[in-house]
């Protein structure tokens, strides 16, 4: 397999009962993913060339956002296809080995860790929940505006402006506090349906494709049999909290719950 100079890209590790998977999914660099089995575990791997994925090239390419986006999507697509068949412990991006033998060695060495991680995510899925602050229309500021127009009778436009600005600030501060309070409530409430949860920092608004600030970016590990309850709780919270807009993504491969040393507990 490794006739030409290249590397073995590792996507993740599953149990030994992994069925045929990822048909038609192009892996990282275009090479179809394959499996290496050892110690009762299955590594999902793919061949990548040294020119693009060698250490020096990797450093350069990781600086290239387009390359990074392409690679991240390919890595994710394979893991997603595997996760549809059963639990898989995702590797962090750019986990590369010199040979199949090195992969086998790692499976053997870290077998207990992998098994523990697999048992944590078995029959469970990761769901992403975000909350965006909803821009409130600004009841305090608006009515004053027409009256304080260009005539500006006794108070004058400057004073009216200051008054309006103060009202705006208060309103925006209140909305902000409400949104943050809602975010906390939502995070805690949904936790009741999850095995475990993680908080991510909010994403930058531009990237998230939303104009309003993100106030919650969380991941939950939810037992598959409770997924319905979880979704119902989401819908309920959506109805009850008008200061935030909620979105649900998933199911994800359990990226957020396979980390080293994270332990199975919440937070």
């Amino acid at each position: 397999m490794a006739a030409e100079s290249g590397w073995v890209w590792m996507y993740g590790v599953a149990g030994d009962d992994l069925e045929a998977f990822a048909d038609g999914v192009a892996g990282v660099g275009g090479a179809p993913p394959r499996t290496i089995t050892a110690a009762g575990l299955t590594a999902i791997v793919g061949a990548v060339g040294d020119r693009e994925y060698g250490e020096a090239a990797l450093r350069r390419n990781l600086e290239d956002l387009d390359w990074l986006a392409r690679t991240a999507r390919a890595h994710h697509a394979v893991l997603e296809a595997v996760a549809e068949r059963g639990p898989v412990v995702p590797m962090r991006l750019a986990t590369l080995f010199a040979s199949d033998a090195a992969v086998t060695g790692t499976l053997q060495e870290r077998a207990d860790d992998f098994r523990e991680a697999l048992s944590l995510i078995s029959a469970r899925s990761e769901w992403g929940v975000k909350a965006y602050a909803v821009k409130q229309s600004d009841p305090a500021g608006e009515p004053g505006r027409p009256a304080a127009g260009r005539e500006g009778p006794a108070t004058g436009p400057g004073a009216a402006y200051l008054q309006r600005r103060r009202a705006q600030l208060t309103a925006s501060k209140d909305a902000r506090q409400e949104a943050l309070a809602s975010a906390r409530t939502v995070y805690t409430d949904l936790g009741r349906f999850a095995v475990s949860s993680r908080l991510y920092p909010p994403q930058a608004p531009d990237l998230a494709g939303q104009q309003t600030p993100m106030v919650l970016n969380a991941a939950y590990l939810v037992a598959d049999e409770r997924a319905g309850e979880f979704a119902a709780a989401m819908a309920d919270l959506t109805a009850r909290h008008r200061f935030v807009q909620l979105t649900l993504t998933g199911p994800w491969p359990a990226y957020s719950f396979a980390g080293e040393g994270d332990g199975p507990g919440p937070r």
Partner: protein, 126 residues
């Protein structure tokens, strides 16, 4: 899997997010997971993603994940008034500042023209 039932929940009660299908998974969501989460094992190539300076700077524009951000000292989101309660003392979102500045400029223009009119009138009268 229970995918079906949750997908229904997502499309029914919730706003249109990036949850409509695997292909449309949000790049930011993917990046924060594959770069910052997932199990770390020592491969034969050692590229510490956090060592890549440009990457982290660019990523700051893209995502700011807690681990990455705190390790490289990029904690912008903690200082964002929308995102941390203690920063909420008067500094607004940029959008609000911009609209305020526009209003202020407009007020200024109006005041100037009134002053000019008053000056002209007092010159005429006196």
């Amino acid at each position: 899997m229970t995918q079906g039932s949750l997908a229904t929940g997502a499309s029914a009660g919730l706003s249109p997010g990036p949850s409509s299908g695997p292909q449309s998974a949000n790049l930011a969501d993917i990046l924060e997971r594959v770069l910052d989460k997932g199990i770390v094992i020592a491969g034969d190539i050692k590229v510490n993603l956090l060592d890549i300076e440009l990457l982290t700077i660019k990523l700051r524009l893209v995502i700011a994940s807690l681990d990455t951000a705190s390790q490289v000292g990029i904690n912008w989101w903690q200082a964002d008034p929308w995102l941390s309660a203690d920063a909420a003392n008067g500094s607004n979102s940029r959008e609000l500042e911009d609209s305020n500045r526009r209003e202020l400029e407009e007020e200024n223009r109006q005041l100037r023209s009134r002053v000019k009119a008053l000056e002209a009138r007092s010159r005429d009268g006196g």
